[in-house]
Every structure is written in structure tokens, then in C-alpha cells.
């Protein structure tokens, strides 16, 4: 199976330590923080789509749900530890229910895409329409299109006065991403992960082997949502406001583009895709000559045409051909071509 688990962990730790040390020298930590958060969001879809074959058009729904859960809980509780935990659990439970409905209903890919898309739309429309004073959860007004500002941001657990912000907040987010990355690595090396990949490849065969495909897909879907929820909560802390735009279709579509560009079926690809494209968007946002959605669309088209497997697999095979046999052969993955992409 290629590298051993401990080698994998070591490489991850060394590479991420270097990145955490070097990147702040080039890009401000405020920007980097959001890139890290998007990386985590990309990883959440990369996990369920790239390794579980579940194309979810509504990953933004779990992201937004995590952010809103955090904001609402933080206003009511006033200390950030429990709201962070809730922000992971609520999207996970929501996804488990939604996933069970879809997978036990044996919906095919297309309907799965449509349902996740519609759920995102419903959440978007609903949260947008909650401007009135009657929409209150505890002490928190949902605020409709204005969103929820002014909630307690991340603090040192147990000490609501000790806020974590600025540079330290970047390190918290970066370390959170490394931990999530390692957990995903562990998951994919476990039997559960290998079975999930088997299901991606052939659901019928896995069913005939005796695996309960629907249950396993539901669990994987919920894990993906939990990661997206954590990213959402971190995003809420970064922006210090949550708005319905978190649920927008544009956001959902962007996550899918990150995965395609970065490389589906790799752990690192969606993170690179997310951070890279988000940074590009940030740069493009500083000028007004070209519309950045146009550039995004162009990048997607170019990748689908010329690098259909994405950036990371392409770079890996390039390095492999340069260094020849001395390097480990990257497991060549023949992905199903991305549909609708």
C-alpha cells in the first residue's frame, strides 16, 4: 500500500510545519486564515466525493449550518467551546438524516445532486427570510439577509475573556486543518475507508459482498458534513459575522470547482484547489478589469480539457517521470470522469 502510516504522518507534519512557517512571510495571516478554512471545506467534499463517490452539490449547506450553529450557540452560551462542538455535531446529524433518506431511498447520482442542491436553496431562502423580530433562537435573532453579527468569537476554553484572534487564530485554524487532514488519512487507511473506496468503484459488487452500502455512505456523508461544519464555525469566527451568503449556490459550486481543479481522489488536491483558487479570487478582487467569475469559469474549462485529473495528480505524475523509479510510484487512480463538470 505504498508508504507506511508513520511515514505518511511524518511527511504531513514536516510539510505542514514548513508551510505554516513560510506562508505568513508571503501572505498576511488574515488572508491565510480564510484560505486554510476553505482548504478544510474543500477537503470535506474531497473526502466524500473523491473517496466515497458521493457528489454533493450542497456542501455549502453544511458549511453555513456550522457557521450559523456556532453564531447562535455563541450568543446564547457566551463561551466558545460548546458552540464549536455543536457546530460540528449539528451539520453531521443533519447530514446523517438527509443522507439516510437519500441512500436508503436508493437515489442515483443525479437525484442526489438535485436534492442536495435544493436543500441548499431552501436553507438559503429560509435564512434570508428571517429578518423579522419573531425569528429568534434563545437570545439570538436570525437577522435574515443581514446575518448575525456580534457573537462571542473563539476564546481559550474556559476563559471567555481570552479571545483568540489575529496571528494566533491563524495558527489555530492551520493546526485544526492538519489534525483534520491526519484524521482523514487515518480514516482512508482504515477498513472503513478502503470499503468506502470500494463502494465508490462498484456499489453493486460491495452489496453482493455483504456490505450495507446505504449505511456506510450515510456515515461517510455525515463525516464530510462534520468537517464542513467545523470549517463553517472557523469561518464565522474569522468573519465575526454570518450571513445567508454562506448557503449560496455560488459557494457550493465553488467547492466543486476546487475539488476538480485540485484533483479528485487525492487528500491534498482539494485543499490546494481551494486555497489556490480562493487566493486567486482574492487577488482578482483587488482589480476591476476582469470579472473574477469569468476567470474561475475559464480555469475550470481549461482544467477539465487539459488536466482532467486535476493539479495534484498531474504534478505527482510529472515528478514521477522526472525522478523515474527512485520515487515511489503514485497509485494511479482512474477516476470516473467528473459528471456535470
Amino acid at each position: 500500500m505504498g508508504r507506511s502510516a508513520s511515514q505518511d504522518v511524518m511527511i504531513t507534519l514536516v510539510v505542514s510545519a514548513m508551510l505554516i512557517w513560510l506562508l505568513p512571510l508571503m501572505i498576511s495571516t488574515y488572508t491565510l486564515t480564510v484560505l486554510v478554512i476553505y482548504g478544510m471545506l474543500g477537503l470535506s467534499l474531497g473526502l466524500i466525493w473523491g473517496f466515497g463517490g458521493i457528489l454533493c452539490f450542497g456542501q455549502a449547506a453544511f458549511f453555513g449550518l456550522g457557521a450559523y450553529t456556532y453564531a447562535i450557540a455563541a450568543i446564547n452560551i457566551g463561551e466558545s467551546t460548546l458552540p464549536m462542538i455543536l457546530a460540528v455535531l449539528v451539520p453531521a446529524v443533519f447530514a446523517a438524516l438527509l443522507g439516510a433518506m437519500m441512500f436508503y431511498g436508493r437515489l442515483t447520482d443525479v437525484y442526489l445532486g438535485v436534492i442536495t442542491l435544493v436543500v441548499t436553496l431552501i436553507l438559503f431562502k429560509f435564512v434570508n427570510s428571517t429578518a423579522g423580530p419573531q425569528y429568534v433562537i434563545g437570545n439570538a435573532r436570525l437577522g435574515g439577509f443581514n446575518g448575525i453579527p456580534g457573537f462571542q468569537t473563539l476564546n481559550v476554553p474556559g476563559d471567555p475573556g481570552a479571545y483568540i484572534w489575529g496571528d494566533p487564530y491563524f495558527y489555530v485554524c492551520a493546526i485544526a486543518l492538519v489534525i483534520v487532514f491526519l484524521l482523514v488519512t487515518w480514516l482512508l487507511r482504515s477498513s472503513f475507508g478502503r470499503i468506502a473506496v470500494g463502494i465508490r468503484e462498484n456499489e453493486v459488487r460491495m452489496g453482493l459482498m455483504g456490505y450495507d452500502v446505504a449505511a456506510r455512505k450515510t456515515v461517510l456523508f455525515a463525516i464530510g458534513a462534520a468537517i464542513a461544519g467545523l470549517a463553517g464555525a472557523l469561518f464565522a469566527n474569522w468573519g465575526e459575522i454570518v450571513t445567508p451568503n454562506l448557503f449560496s449556490l455560488g459557494q457550493s459550486a465553488e467547492i466543486i470547482i476546487w475539488c476538480i481543479v485540485g484533483g479528485l481522489g487525492t487528500r491534498f488536491g482539494p485543499i490546494v484547489g481551494a486555497a489556490g483558487l480562493a487566493y486567486l479570487k482574492f487577488m482578482l478582487g483587488q482589480q476591476s478589469m476582469i470579472d473574477n467569475t469569468l476567470v474561475m469559469g475559464l480555469i475550470l474549462v481549461l482544467f477539465v480539457l487539459f488536466l482532467p485529473r486535476g493539479l495534484v495528480p498531474a504534478v505527482a505524475s510529472l515528478l514521477n517521470s522526472i525522478f523515474g523509479r527512485t520515487k515511489r510510484k503514485p497509485r494511479p487512480r482512474r477516476m470516473r470522469r467528473a459528471r456535470h463538470g
Binding site: S191, R194, I195, V197, G198, E201, N202, V204, R205, M206, G207, L208, M209, G210, Y211, D212, V213, P332, R333, R334, M335
Partner: protein, 238 residues
Amino acid sequence: MVETVLETSGLTMRFGGVTASDNVNFKLKARELRCLIGPNGAGKSTFFKCVTGLLTPTEGHVYMRGQEVTGWQPHQIASLGVGIKTQTPNVMDALSVHENIWLAARRFYNVVEARERADSIIDRLALGAIARTQLGQLAHGERQRVELGIVAVADPWLVLLDEPAAGMSAQDVDRMTEIIHELTRFAAVVIVEHDMQFIRSIAQTVTVFHQGAVLMEDHVERVMSDPQVRAVYLGKKA
């Protein structure tokens, strides 16, 4: 008395106005090898799908080792220890031969044991040279053999094979025959098949399907020489 491992009573499957399986009563004893034959559209595959849970029969019952399994999902039936191979090769193309077989073993054994069993079945099927190759790159006969490995690795007591010899070379068929004979030492085997050559080489008892119902059930030689069977199966002029 030998245990009955598979039994259907009054199994009927209708698709709209078409009765694809008509009141099939079928019994299979432990370690028996049985071939299901019949012309196209005779209802063999429908019967196969009803038994494996891929279809839920309109009427009738399916029992495995005395337990009613009518309407169960394929994964529940497979969990009983039933190995199933469908008509079209159903394998994981992007995964290696070893990973494919390991996944099948992992369902019933822990990680270490699953690896040992996968290794030993790969040896037995002479797949060692291609164990790390992706299935998508293999020839049809090899893929069929890997799928047999997937079925055999979990030590099933009942094996259901839908056209295992389809599209294989003579040499591959010989090897397949050998593997199936080995399977019957521990398991009852049901084979749905078209290839008469293959059936002659492997079968003892044959069940003939015609228009959804069982036409006759007897020793292979008697079935082959039966004028009625020749009429429906080989065409009127035979």
C-alpha cells in the same frame, strides 16, 4: 439426510403483463452442483435475481438453510455466507486484484485474516503475477477469475454464478471448471449458463427453464437427449 440449502416455493415474478418467472419450485441440497439452462428469455436470470435479492418476487418464497429470505436486500443475503456473481463482471476497476479480493474477505474476517485469505486465494487462482495490477487493465478472462476469487474468498456455503464462462477462452473455461469443482467441496453451487460444452463438462443435475417455468430437472445426459428439451432449447428442427 442432506440439508436443503436453497429452496423456492411458488416463486413468481411479473413485470407488468409479462410473467418472467412462473411458479418455480426449486430445491438445492448442500454441496450440490446445479446448472440452470434454457433459451433466451426463459426466466433463468430473473429467477437468479429473485434469489439473490436483486429483485423482489411478486409472489412466492425463498428459503436459505430453512430461513425465509424473501424480499431481503442483496447485502443481507450475502451476509449469510452466500457468494454471488452477476452476469456482467461486477468488480472494482480502479483497485488492484488484491484489494478487490481483500475487500470481499474483510466482510467476514478481521484485517490480518482477510489479508491471509486474500493471499491464499490469489495463489490458488494463479493470480500472483497480477496481484498488484488494477483490474481495469486486465483481460476479460482474468477479471472473471478475480470475480470468482471475490466469491470464493469468504468461504460461502452457497454460490450463485450467472454465466461464469461467458466470453472466455477455452483455456480459461478449463481453469474455471477446476475452480468450480473445488468450490463444490464445501458449497452448493448454482450456475446459470448458455454454453452447452461447459455444462456437459461440469454438471450432473440440470434444471431446464422454459417460458418462466421449470420444464424438467434431471441428469445432464438425459436432459440433453430429451426431445422436448431439444425442441425448446436447440430449435424445433433438432
